[in-house]
Symmetry: C2
């Protein structure tokens, strides 16, 4: 959230955004689509994790990605190469996705997603450990990534993100032997700001733990929208 | 920058901020203080670099730090342990320092900095690769950090930051053997968005290259405010 002098206006924008996010969520619910919002600092490994996880998730679910970046479609292209349908949203100067961008993407995009043909949408937000946490987009679950190279103090220093998240994914487990970081302390700090936070540690490079993330999404989808007997 | 619907207001806030930043800069110039604004994604290693660099810089310069964090004084305390004077600014929900916060810190803080007694102020901004780049605080130079673990594409995906910066500091050089990252490609991408960008690669862990960063600050200070014959 910006400028201290504009707090009232900020609240109004946030409230308007939350309203529109609810509208997006209704669209997702009508179509039976489970939506996960993946957030982290730049470079924590969101795209690399999705490259590994989404082909596994796609074995049993119809999956698409909404890819938010300030500039370029580099990440969108990486995921398309894995055979995933991607709606790319380039945010320009905006430091996060918001409900308006998602709504516009859903309704007006040339490459708009066909919701009834999907089970799961994974949204990769702009790399930012601050602002995306405050802007709902209509998601059902929020995931925050934190790499072991970022140190153990991030949950304490960026509490809004870790409080908002349902799941913390600790990434780059393969680098743990090379950094002075205690995994236990990172988890302790995260649970301090959010005792209900679930935690999965993994390495997208070695594959260790990636299946746990895939299962977490699949379980969330199953709990949210139980399979119906007949689907058109 | 937030919400697409509030672009005009955003420009107004930015313009107001730039005006106040100029006011801060005049204060710094009057006192002969050289101010460096250090920015990066969370976890790129700003505090760890300053822990190593500032005691070296302090051998020949009178140095203080303005430390911006959303929550906690963890980083401020780490630097105080190194004997550095620190003015801590806790930003709450704000995702960057702005000129108002700096002005308030300079004029009204209980622990306010005594400008005439200083040569250099290093500002450690909130960890965010987006918003801090747009909010001047009255600094003379902008430094962007990017760790080797963040990958080579960050300058292309977050061009505003890398275009605004005078210096790119590539951190965590000690981890280079353990990641699939080309240092040359990272520099090439950074120079693509900002051909004038200077680059220093270093490891605060091993100490390699840290002195280059210290010298860069000292040289900037010398060029900006040549030593006067008599100083009170």
């Amino acid at each position: 959230m910006h400028n201290t002098a504009s707090a009232a206006l900020g609240r109004e924008l946030l409230s308007e955004n939350t309203h529109l996010a609810q509208h997006n969520r209704e669209h997702f619910d009508e179509a039976g689509v489970f939506v996960v919002n993946v957030m982290s600092a730049p470079g924590a490994g969101k795209t690399t994790l999705l490259e590994q996880a989404l082909p596994l998730l796609a074995r049993r679910h119809r999956v698409a990605v909404i890819e938010g970046d300030m500039a370029t479609e580099l990440d969108a292209d990486r995921l398309r190469e894995r055979g995933v349908d991607v709606l790319a949203i380039t945010t320009g100067r905006a430091c996060h996705l918001d409900a308006t961008m998602i709504a516009r993407g859903l309704h007006h995009g040339e490459t708009k997603l066909d919701l009834p043909s999907l089970d799961v949408i994974v949204v990769e937000n702009v790399g930012n450990l601050v602002c995306p946490a405050e802007f709902e987009i209509g998601e059902h679950r929020k995931v925050a990534l934190c790499s072991v190279t970022e140190g153990v103090d991030k949950p304490l220093k960026y509490p809004i993100m870790f409080r908002a998240a349902d799941l913390l994914v600790i990434t780059k487990l393969d680098l743990l032997p090379h950094v002075d970081v205690s995994l236990d302390q990172l988890v302790t700090n995260a649970k301090e700001v959010n005792p209900a936070l679930e935690v999965i540690a993994l390495s997208a490079k070695t594959g260790e733990g990636v299946l746990n993330f895939v299962r977490w999404i699949a379980a969330g989808r199953a709990a949210h929208a139980p399979p119906v007997a007949v689907r058109a």
